[in-house]
Symmetry: C2
Subunit: 259 residues, 2 copies
């Protein structure tokens, strides 16, 4: 595999840092190629702004259109172009991050906001009455796979089907489906560590072992079967799931997974 | 009302900038007090790191614990303390932002990550076998209300109950419930504008009118009735919704809204 690890924690000696280090060593020892984007170490700029688009920033600024023109002209900033190149190089992407306020840390969201530009990650393919682009299963990054490795402070029960925080698969849906599947990347089941703030050494040893096993079986893991947009499951132009594919009246993110 | 508007768009002459300006003028003309945190204009630092906690940053860094000790010592950075003071001053919070990749722009996520510190927004109240803190309806910011004003590029149908992107109320749940309700802030129904990237002047005039009406009826609007944590709806210590409160087998974010 060619693996890109995007790491988003400010402390190298954190649980996240340790999981990132384990991933690098485990994958390399198994013969895989690994590149790491350590966003805090890179002092990654989080906020998308006119500076990202150079001479292609219009007045007033249009984030989508300007980013697309800068992308097509090869004129995005060096930091953004380097990340796009890494994504095109990789066949596997690991996002390593702590769940902060039920989502990614700002620095990682800023990696998405700035790297996933128009014409690269969205606005790709025919947009017409009969097709709304190549997205959700097709697109620039199709054929790649992703694995989220997420540390969570609270206990697992709080993130269960009836848990107060909401199910972890629903909290991660906007990342696995909305961000990754949109330009074509399929996610395998996430690796989620609970109780991250108060962990014994024994517990960490168990987690490290489980993490190595997940990494070494990653090539054979089945992706989450999100429904692809352009293969008959959705009405046009509304892009609503066709009647009959799920029980009437059901709603929520789970509709978009084939069971 | 005392209204804090947190604004997160890089272009003042954008749709978001216009909606923010309308909110300021409409509310002030109606006699309300308004303060604005214009995050791009403030060059808001998005990434939480050791620099936020001054002498209270431990080695290795512990984001939750260190932020809590810095908060209790009054030693957080000036920028973060100013935002916490604004939240305590306000009785109403408006978040004005474009939906980027199904969530907030990184700069706004970084406002949450850095301002909603331990002991201020979480880690508040008794944590024991019989109580897991004051959160979800109680907490430091209880009694306040929020209104999300969100611009979305895609059409409304894509965000409907069976729409391919997922229902807008589920996409906003991690913000309205996970971020705002957690320290006690109740959200009213969001103001969502679709088709934001290609809008005619006539459409904008209609939206501006609807937005003014929402602002002028905000005081009477009913909040979304999320279930409060500590008032009998959840098992302890699992914090799973009690059996019988929703049909068996149902899951998803919608369980946590009283209907």
């Amino acid at each position: 595999m060619k693996v890109l690890i995007v790491h988003a924690h400010p402390e190298p000696r954190s649980l996240n840092g340790a999981l990132k280090d384990i991933a690098v060593s485990t994958l390399r020892e198994a013969g895989h190629e690994v590149r790491v984007s350590d966003l805090y170490a890179m002092r990654w700029k989080a906020a998308a702004d006119a500076g990202d688009y150079g001479p292609h920033a219009s007045t007033p600024l249009k984030v989508a259109a300007d980013s697309g023109r800068a992308f097509e002209a090869g004129a995005l900033g060096d930091d953004v172009r380097a990340e796009q190149e890494k994504l095109l190089w990789a066949d596997t992407v690991i996002l390593q991050f702590p769940l902060w306020w039920y989502s990614m840390p700002a620095i990682l969201k800023g990696w998405v906001d700035r790297v996933f530009t128009y014409r690269f990650a969205y606005g790709v393919g025919e947009h017409s009455d009969v097709k709304y682009g190549e997205r959700y299963g097709e697109g620039t990054l199709a054929g790649r796979r992703a694995l989220l490795s997420v540390t969570v402070g609270g206990p697992e029960a709080h993130y269960g089907p009836r848990g107060i925080n909401g199910p972890i698969e629903d909290l991660l849906f906007p990342i696995q489906h909305g961000i990754l599947f949109y330009p074509g990347i399929e996610s395998v089941e996430p690796f989620v560590v609970h109780g991250a703030d108060r962990m014994s050494e024994d517990t960490f040893a168990d987690i490290a072992k489980a993490w190595r096993e997940r990494l070494l079986t990653l090539e054979e893991a089945e992706p989450i079967p999100y429904r692809r947009q352009n293969f008959g499951d959705y009405e046009l132009p509304s892009l609503q799931l066709k009647e009959g594919l799920e029980p009437a009246g059901r709603s929520g993110f789970g509709l978009h997974v084939r069971r």
